[in-house]
Amino acid sequence: MALKNKLQWRDSELECEWRREGAEVRLTYGGQEVQALLLEESAHFLEFQIDGKVEKVACYSDARGVFVHTPSGNFFFKPPKKARRRTKAGTGGEELTAPMPGKLLKVLVASGDEVKQGDTLMILEAMKMEHPIRAPHGGKVKSVYYQEGQRVSQGEELLELQ
């Protein structure tokens, strides 16, 4: 039976259809068809024969995503998107997320503040680097989720802008 999966590759979803019979694996994705033989599987490694070549891939997966090492480089697939919409239903608010992990050096706005496009709302800091969080458009700050001095992970929602 063919399996269908969506992999989160960069900002898009990669639709994959694949089937495994014994050692034989057939895969279709992004308009290409791939045939491979799975020769060996160990704790972290898979060995395939593909296009007449035997190659190993290393795999690791945790809550942050799936990490794969191949002879041609490293590949990272994000975990599937949560069932959360970017724009909150009803409020019309937009949530700004942290582009990198770090500490909130400054929180320059409070809920209720009116801001203009390009205003610096927060300053995020990771070792040796300050990164301003700017308003993508003008509007009203609906909620601020963090205080100065708190640490945030990459992708966490920092505040909601209306």
Binding site: L3, K4, N5, L7, W9, R10, L14, C16, W18, R20, L27, Y29, G30, V34, A36, L38, A43, H44, F45, L46, F48, I50, E55, V57, A58, C59, Y60, S61, D62, A63, R64, V66, F67, V68, H69, T70, P71, S72, G73, N74, F75, F76, F77, K78, P79, P80, K82, P99, M100, P101, G102, A126, M127, K128, M129, H131, S153, Q154, G155, E156
Partner: protein, 498 residues
Amino acid sequence: MSPFQKILIANRGEIALRLVQAAKEMGRRTVVVYSQADKDSLAVQQAEESYALEGNEVGETYLNVEQILAVAKQCGAQAVHPGYGFLSENADFAERCAAAGLVFIGPKPETIRQLGDKVISKRMADQAGVPVIPGHQGEMPKGKALDQVAAKIGFPLMIKASAGGGGKGMRIVAGPEQLADALAAASREAAAYFGNPEVFLEKYLENPRHVEVQILGDNQGRVVALGERECSIQRRHQKMIEESPSPSIDDKVRRDLAAAAVNLAEAVGYVSAGTVEFIVDEKNRFYFLEVNTRLQVEHPVTEWVTGVDLVKNQILIAEGEGFNFDPDKLTPRGHAIECRLYAEDPENQFLPSEGRVGLLREPARPGVRIDSSLYEGQEILSLYDPMLAKLTVFGKNRKEALEKMSALLRDYILLGIRHNLDFLRFVVDGAAFQSGHYHTHTVAQLMPEFLAGRQEPVPLAVLGALMVPRRAVTTAAAMGPATGTAGSLAGLEGFRNA
């Protein structure tokens, strides 16, 4: 002076481990201090003694002078090695050490202070006959006088904020007609960003290269140059790849650079290891940039080609001994290249990333040196510098070193965090680096091509992601409490069962 009984290492990560190992090989006992996040580090494991510092922030821990001095006193250390970064170029700390009866392993405090000041160090370089970049500082003339000053420097020139850094308030001026307006604008920008409108003029170098000379001074006033390092592969003004010898200069320039570095260092009575940095233009004219009064991150490339252990010599010099090699018989040989492995994502503007060392395979093979403090299960947080490890290779010539580096970058496996290995490999295998003709803008120029090549994953990567072996999946519960990233494993399981 007799050998130190005990040395305190005031640093973390790969350099703490490197210092512990060097001192232990010499039979000196080692003590490390560590933050809560670093309590399981390899340096803590390998040092004879270790002391916890409360907290995680650098101010509470690796920059906490009071705490570090208290530990040194408590454990009876006789010397402190600061490594690089943190307190290594802090003249006040070096003085505090001396006052507490501790030997600071590094230059004299006054040397650190003088050379740490951009204006003073530039003047000292000038006095020592070292070429400095033409420019104008202080009161900015107006009208004809300004034109004369600018003409003397030559166009294009650069306006920089005196209090600035990181490219802010910086402007390139192509010709005299734009100068007055640009000065006014740069001054306004400087006032807005730094609260200080003062700006200065400097000659702008097109496609400059960054070349530096390793120096080592003994207690008798002798300074030797240990070859140069080419460090022009940079992002955000931070180095990513270094090599020695530099592929872009000839032996005449090489000798002149070394002589300039030694002249400056001897003029200030330099003791211990240091680095004199230069900017080199397209005609191989070089200008003094600054002096780093400490052990440099990229010291392994110099150690490969000279055979001199810089850390051991620092310790011996601090103990009052001389060099452990004969400077008159020093002939660099072969070629060394270092790549810095960073926990940062080239696809996301090189911003730092967090993660967990889920799978690690560091190749050990002839001609490879890996300065790493990584271990499986380690949580990588953004509290500290994102550098994870240094991958260094040695070849009998540059060609062999390039081959070794390319293979090393291909075979080094680190999964569980976003890092720059693929970008390093892209640079090393690319035409610019292979030819040796590269400069400090090369990384920015290569970026679009690198990103374009990452449009779709290769079939093997997709197969790997779809068929992750069960034992290679770490459940969310096993992750440390420090992680709070969104995403759930339940979703990932769907990869297999859908």
